[in-house]
Amino acid sequence: MRPGLVLRVAAGVAGVALFAVAVRYAVVRSVDVRPAAWVRWWVTAAIVHDVVVAPVALLVGWLVVRFVPRVVKAPVQAGLILTAVVVAVSWPALRGYGRIASNPTYLPRNYATGLLISLGLVWAACGAWALGRLVRGRQGRPLAVSKRPTATGTGSRLP
């Protein structure tokens, strides 16, 4: 067998062994892990991604590609990606789900303000980028500086 194939088979076997550890732990510690709820959670997570998150991203992506002017397209895409990530990560804090009246050391900050500041900086950076592209576009230069010469045409799937 080729060394690459040996490694791949080894990785596959090791992966199955790790599955076994997960299942064994979930069963042995079923009082804590609650296997039914545990499985439901990660299966639901995958389904929610495929049925909700991915289609919404497709739709938003399509809207941007279709309606946002060429010059600011990339900065808008970047701003939306950054916004989605920052909102997703800060969502529990923003909504204050974990806030306990008796313990003010949980979620001690004003997360709405924090989010506004973060997104303000993100969109300011994207705005500056868009402005740069706008100026370059007016001067008839490419929208961005490429470090390597680009071959055009062959194999490109541009519309």
């Binding site: 790790l18 995958a46 990606i81 997703a88 973060s118 541009l158």
Partner: protein, 401 residues
């Protein structure tokens, strides 16, 4: 694989919208240049690195809380757990944009038809649910946990632990299945796709390189806005951190308050610290006696499993002095018991290395002042390199077994 499975043929109208396993990743349904094997491979490598860091640091944390008999947890370096657990949470949060980007790049493959044709494709398909579901589970539950939010019925630590094995198993099977396609994609010459790969994109959309840059920037923004919970210099910038290491009674955060533990009012006249069990000379000490013995000061971090940490000067009685006075065997098993009546962390086991460490204290003072009730007044355990949940508060007994 030579032999191929026969799959039913979908109607031509649907057929033309579905990508094929052996064809380019881009289906007719999507013109995104970001649905690309090479990009997927690069993001996959980044995720393999961050997930491995999370897995190892998580395993380390788990072993401290459920120590197996074969592993002696060292007491030194004192800040080790602070680093490993800080890294665990920081790396996990930074993985959120990486995972979402990765899912976007490969999404058409999820709906490819036939679902699989060769053995590697079948393996890839089987590993997908535990890998994707497990990854999303880990990042979602972790993000909720650091915000103190528990919208589930399972025990967070143990379910998170089980999911980490599931995910890493999925990752290994996935790597076995896609190693070939990834290696080919990574070796691919740029010339055929340069307009898509490089940052000069004639149609104005993000190039692949631009997309990687944005994903990296997203990881950076997430890190800067949250890592201040454990990285001191970032405190002022971490406007989205769920904890602030400077906010709390005596300037230190708290996980379980005295009110929650039912230890708000401790009658000092009645309070005693007992050292009992397998000892030659059981001790019963009053608070005044403990204060007289509390001469050792140690600067140690308190590190929560939720990733925040803060350093403080603790003053107290070295545990090893008490054990010596009581005549405990040096290799005895030591359990610290709290005044709390309930709670998963009412007691904690102190390993041998920690029990012998001169800076493992039963502290009475924090930064020069008497402990706040929320920090465990009248007496708490504080030891180097130890998860915060095991730094038992409101200590009333040391049981030697």
């Amino acid at each position: 694989m030579a032999s191929r499975l026969r799959w039913p043929e979908p109607p031509p109208t649907i057929r033309r919208w579905l990508p094929q396993p052996d064809g380019p990743i881009t289906p007719p349904a999507s013109t995104s240049r970001l649905h690309d094997d090479r990009l997927a491979a690069r993001l996959g490598i980044a995720l393999a690195v961050t997930f491995t860091i999370c897995f190892l640091t998580g395993l380390w944390s788990h072993l401290q809380q459920d120590p197996p008999t074969w592993l002696a947890i060292p007491a030194r370096p004192a800040g080790l757990y602070r680093i490993t657990q800080g890294l665990h949470v920081i790396t996990g949060l930074a993985s959120v944009p990486l995972l979402l980007a990765k899912l976007w790049t490969v999404w058409p493959r999820f709906v490819q038809w036939p679902a699989f044709g060769t053995l590697p494709q079948a393996l890839w398909r089987i590993a997908l649910l535990p890998l994707v579901g497990g990854s999303l589970f880990l990042l979602a539950t972790g993000t909720a946990n650091i915000a103190g939010w528990y919208p589930w019925t399972f025990d967070f630590r143990k379910a998170h632990f089980a999911a980490s094995w599931l995910t890493m198993g999925g990752l290994l099977v996935h790597v076995a299945a896609v190693a070939g396609i990834s290696a080919t994609a990574l070796r691919r010459k740029l010339k055929n796709d340069s307009a898509d790969d490089l940052d000069d994109s004639p149609d104005g959309r993000l190039s692949r390189r631009g997309f990687l840059g944005v994903v990296g920037a997203a990881a950076g923004v997430v890190t800067v806005t949250t890592a201040g919970a454990t990285v001191g210099p970032l405190r002022g910038l971490s406007v989205l951190a769920t904890r602030d290491p400077g906010v709390g009674p005596q300037g230190i955060p708290v996980n379980r308050t005295a009110a929650d533990a039912g230890t708000r009012e401790v009658d000092l006249d009645a309070f005693r610290l007992r050292v009992e069990g397998k000892v030659a000379n059981p001790l019963v000490l009053t608070y005044a006696e403990l204060l007289a013995m509390a001469t050792r000061t140690a600067t140690l971090p308190i590190t929560c499993v939720e990733g925040w940490s803060a350093s403080a000067a603790w003053r107290g009685v070295p545990l090893r002095d008490l054990l010596r006075r009581a005549g405990a065997e040096p290799d005895a098993e030591v359990v610290v018991v709290s005044l709390e009546q309930r709670g998963a962390y009412r007691t904690s086991e102190v390993g041998r290395d920690h029990a012998l460490d001169p800076e493992t204290l039963l502290a009475t003072h924090l930064n020069g002042d008497t402990l706040d009730p929320d920090h465990g007044f009248p007496l708490r355990l504080i030891a180097p390199n130890r998860p915060g949940v095991l730094q038992t508060k409101w200590v009333t007994m040391i049981e030697v077994r």
